[in-house]
């Protein structure tokens, strides 16, 4: 059995802390912009875990997957922000509780 070259537990716990901070942000905040940023925090926590285990196992797949996650995060941010713009274009307050009718 090989000795892992990185302190896996430290990185895993750090990633968990960051992910849970993001979960807290999505649950507690009502500002859609800050909720989107919390989702970015969660994406980044997942990326940190991917890169950690890629290094631990010397396997490139983790790097590739983190790269794909960054791409998907960019697409998600663009579409989420477009929805925020059209939903709150003419309102004075930015609050997700305000959007109660989702009929097309």
């Amino acid at each position: 059995m090989h000795l892992l070259p990185v302190p896996l537990a430290d990185y895993t716990v750090l990633s968990t802390v960051m992910f849970l901070i993001g979960v807290c942000g999505v649950i507690v905040r009502r500002n859609p912009l800050i909720m989107l940023m919390s989702i970015e925090l969660m994406f980044n926590a997942a990326n940190l875990l991917f890169v950690t285990y890629a290094r631990a196992w010397l396997n490139n797949a983790g790097h590739i997957f983190a790269f794909l996650v960054i791409t998907v995060a960019a697409a998600e941010a663009a579409i989420g922000l477009a929805i925020v713009v059209i939903a709150f274009r003419s309102s004075e307050r930015v609050d997700v509780d305000q959007v109660s009718a989702l009929r097309g």
Partner: protein, 201 residues
């Protein structure tokens, strides 16, 4: 090694907390920027130098600027973004409790797990200091993997970005079909009433 881990780790957690507690979205963006820089340092400490640069360029350079644009767009013309009443103060305590429970479970699981035998490596390169050529995580190593073994996922990424671009133009372009706000709903209702009145005449 440990300073290279602990300093960015403390910055990472502090800036993440700042992100979700900041009163204004602009402060959150600044905190998120600090967070991304700390994360890039951690990526470098894990010898993922290409991903560290991508993290800085794509996240800090593109996504955060998108957030700033939207904040500027939303606060122009109308009143500056205000917080409004916090309608979910009761959720804070349960959220913290759930988070602490999950954190405890994950930590217990991590600390009690054993090191697993290494699976076969796809990478041809061996580990080395970040910044030298042809070691694990270097640009050439990453590029070789991306364009040989993982070529199909890379091509599908292009489709994902295309869908995002078309979706954003459909949603927020000039021909945007419907603005879901109360003011817009009032407008539509008024137009309909007027049309019905005209029909009556």
């Amino acid at each position: 090694m440990s300073a290279l881990f602990w300093i960015p780790a403390v910055v990472l957690v502090a800036s993440a907390l700042w992100t979700i507690t900041a009163s204004k979205p602009v402060y959150s963006v600044v905190a998120l920027l600090v967070n991304f820089f700390a994360l890039a340092v951690l990526f470098l400490s894990l010898s993922a130098e290409f991903l560290a640069m991508i993290q800085l360029i794509v996240y800090s350079g593109a996504i955060l600027v998108l957030f700033l644009f939207v904040i500027a767009l939303l606060s122009s013309g109308v009143a500056p973004i205000s917080l409004g009443p916090n309608r979910l103060p009761r959720l804070t305590a349960p959220a913290v409790v759930v988070v602490l429970i999950v954190f405890g479970l994950v930590t217990a699981g991590v600390l009690s797990s054993h090191a697993t035998p290494l699976p076969p490596s796809h990478s041809l390169a061996s580990a080395g200091p970040a910044g030298t050529a042809n070691v694990f995580g270097s640009v050439s190593d990453f590029g070789k993997a991306l364009f040989t073994v993982y070529l199909l996922p890379f091509e599908i990424t292009a489709l994902v970005l295309m869908v995002a671009v078309i979706g954003v133009i459909m949603l927020a372009g000039d021909e945007a079909p419907y603005v879901a706000t109360r003011a817009r709903a009032e407008e539509v209702r008024k137009e309909m009433r007027e049309a019905i009145a005209r029909e009556g005449d």
